[in-house]
């Protein structure tokens, strides 16, 4: 028996039938609270990352700077949240309070490090995803549209990349070439393009034999035009979905590499390294917040991008058809 909710659903579906696929997708997304909350979280995260310099001047604790007041004189542990804040937030510099505590045994400010770490995560997530999507689109579309030998070669290449153990290879390469921001971005992109690439390839393969493509050729459109004007717009759906998922993947991968010590150089703040800073000497046992703050932020961020991606997929393809 249909519940009132389902009937309501059917009614709205019927009403929106005359709308375009894009409008339909937005209408569905607007009702998806999980996706909306994820999106809101991401917006807040971006603001938090942008506020880094504000936090620096507000606390007087520049990023990557050790503060003697950030370490407890007796226990030699990083100070906890709200340390030295009893007198209010007015004081500046070394004596200023640590709102979220210190982030390591050098007395870095947790709030500042988290904010700049968010910046790092977002930059890596976005740039690596951009590169991933460019390669995935290029190779996926070419393979799917051209077919034949070209397709065979590209498809095998995708299989090979998919079969590579990412961490093992990344660590070996990091030892060989030395890690830098670009190294981390490139290594992530190199190992993630194959998945969306396969999706785009499949999409284009099924689109290329659709009659409207033949109709476009009938009108004299060239292959380039067909791909750019007629096929690409249809890939925007899967593109946004996999971009969102890919940002999550890239952020997690960077954190993992930096945690293991094969990721970003020390001068670039990273949530992964902040977590690993809590490990030596069992620091996290006495000061669990060292791990809890960056860990929670990392988990929530990865979760938000993943849930947003899922929400986008549901919105664009409610019957779970072609996208996965």
């Amino acid at each position: 028996m249909a519940t009132v909710e389902q009937l309501e659903d059917m009614k709205t579906e019927g009403m929106v039938l005359a709308r375009t696929p894009r409008q339909l997708a937005f209408a569905r997304l607007r009702r998806d609270y999980v996706a909306l909350i994820s999106l809101a979280f991401i917006v807040l995260l971006v603001l938090f990352a942008l506020a880094g310099p504000l936090f620096e001047s507000w606390t007087g604790h520049p990023v990557n700077r050790s503060n003697s007041t950030g370490v407890d004189d007796y226990t030699l542990l990083p100070v906890g949240p709200l340390h030295g804040c009893a007198d209010g937030l007015a004081s500046v510099g070394e004596r200023a309070c640590f709102v979220l505590g210190a982030s390591n045994n050098l007395g870095y400010d947790m709030l500042v490090q988290l904010s700049f770490g968010a910046r790092t995560s977002l930059i890596i997530g976005i740039v690596a995803t951009f590169l991933t999507m460019v390669v995935a689109l290029l190779l996926g579309v070419i393979a799917g549209y051209v077919g034949g030998w070209t397709d065979t070669v590209i498809a095998r290449l995708m299989d090979v990349v998919a079969a590579f153990p990412f961490l093992l290879f990344a660590i070996a390469a990091s030892v060989a070439f030395g890690a830098s921001l670009w190294f981390v971005i490139l290594i992530i992109a190199i190992f993630s393009w194959f998945y969306p690439g396969r999706i785009f390839r499949g999409e284009v393969m099924s689109l290329r034999n659709r009659e409207f493509v033949t109709a476009a050729r009938m009108l004299g459109a060239s292959n380039t035009r067909i791909v750019l004007r007629h096929l690409m717009p249809q890939l925007i759906g899967p593109l946004t979905v996999y971009a969102s998922l890919s940002v999550a993947g890239a952020i997690a991968a960077e954190a993992a590499l930096s945690y293991l010590g094969f990721g970003l150089p020390l001068e670039i703040p990273s949530w992964g390294r902040m977590i690993s800073d809590a490990v030596p000497g069992g620091l996290y046992i006495n000061a669990p917040f060292l791990m809890v703050f960056p860990g929670t932020l990392l988990v929530l961020t990865v979760l938000a991008f993943n849930l947003l991606g899922d929400g986008l997929r549901d919105a664009l393809d409610p019957r779970g058809g072609t996208l996965l």
Binding site: T20, P21, G148, R210, M218, L219, A221, S222, P233
Partner: protein, 337 residues
């Protein structure tokens, strides 16, 4: 003026089971301002023929013979040259308007693109031409429709848009591949009415593909009957209906509603069409033909001008007297008179 000349065209699809000869030695010609109908059962190669002419075959197909548009040979033409002709000198209307328009582009964008592919005009000018094009095929409030997405239009409206799109650059050759098959009966009638009007207005040679002889009777000047990849009979429309020459044509005519005389049930040609993967050696209709002789089973009869019938040609061994007599008797033309 002769506009389209097809000579001994053979189109073969490479498949996993072997080559499929979808078009097997077809010759035909159409003059400017004329409408040639091509009729035949499903799978006899009508679409393969029209895609061959348009150069729209998939890569798995090979093609031999000659297709001339005016003086220009199309077989073996480079892709870029063919592209300039397509949509400009020749255009095609597809069977299913639901799938032949891009679902995520506005109607207007698609029309404007079609114009600007071949005419050096400004966006605004192209837009005006597109609106005119929509108006010409009887679309109400064309300005508004320009902003619509295909799925906002009914099937009949979409097919009108498709027709408008094909006519935008005033092609010299228009191929319509079953333009009404996917539509409901009332819409079919409207689209046929539109085609009839357009026929008078556009001075193009039109190839109208259909499996509906009724449509042929209304719209065509000449008709070619296709069976299993070959043309078995070609005649002016009146001639075909009055004096059908080929046993397959008799069957087709007899199976038209209202033609089979006293019989209640619709006539059906016994047997099924042959597989194009392994076609019979001789005349491809021989296995289903009540008049087949031994020679028919080994050698196909060539498509020859029927002696006593002006303008028609038939690929059959039967003598003229038998053909005339049996044709009238079997196809039910007598009953109609």
């Amino acid at each position: 003026m002769r506009l389209l000349t097809v000579d001994d065209l053979r189109t073969t699809f490479r498949t996993d089971d072997g080559p499929v000869g979808a078009v097997d030695g077809v010759s035909l010609s159409v003059d400017a301002g004329q409408v040639l109908g091509i009729v035949g059962e499903s799978g006899c190669g009508k679409s393969a023929l029209s895609l061959s002419i348009m150069g729209l075959l998939p890569k798995s197909a090979t093609i031999t013979g000659s297709i001339r548009l005016g003086e220009q040979e199309l077989v073996g033409l480079a892709g870029s040259e063919l592209r300039q002709l397509r949509g400009d000198d020749m255009a095609m209307i597809f069977q299913d308007p639901m799938t032949s328009l891009n679902p995520v582009m506005r109607i207007g964008e698609q029309l404007i693109e079609a114009i600007r592919l071949h005419q050096r005009v400004s966006k605004a000018e192209a837009r005006r031409l597109a609106v005119d094009g929509l108006a010409a095929v009887g679309i109400p409030s064309p300005e508004d429709r320009m902003r619509a997405y295909p799925l906002e239009l009914s099937g009949g409206m979409r097919q009108r848009v498709m027709i408008a799109m094909a006519l935008l650059n005033r092609p010299r050759l228009l191929i319509a591949d079953e333009p009404t098959t996917a539509l409901d009966v009332t819409t079919q009638a409207q689209i046929l009415e539109l085609m009839r009007e357009l026929r008078r207005e556009v001075d193009a040679a039109i190839v109208l593909i259909t499996h509906d002889l009724g449509v042929v009777a209304e719209l065509c000047d000449e008709v070619a009957v296709m069976y299993a990849g070959r043309i078995v009979e070609r005649a002016p429309v009146a001639e075909l209906f009055a004096h059908p020459q080929h046993p397959y044509t008799w069957g087709l005519l007899a199976s038209l509603p209202g033609r089979s005389g006293a019989e209640e049930r619709l006539y059906q040609i016994p047997g099924t069409p042959p597989s194009l993967l392994h076609p019979p050696a001789g005349c491809r209709f021989a296995p289903r033909c009540a008049f087949a002789m031994d020679a028919c089973r080994t050698d196909p009869a060539p498509l020859l001008t029927a002696t006593a019938r002006a303008g028609s040609a038939v690929a059959c061994r039967l003598d003229q007297t038998t053909r005339d007599r049996e044709g009238v008797r079997l196809s039910g033309t007598e009953a109609e008179r």
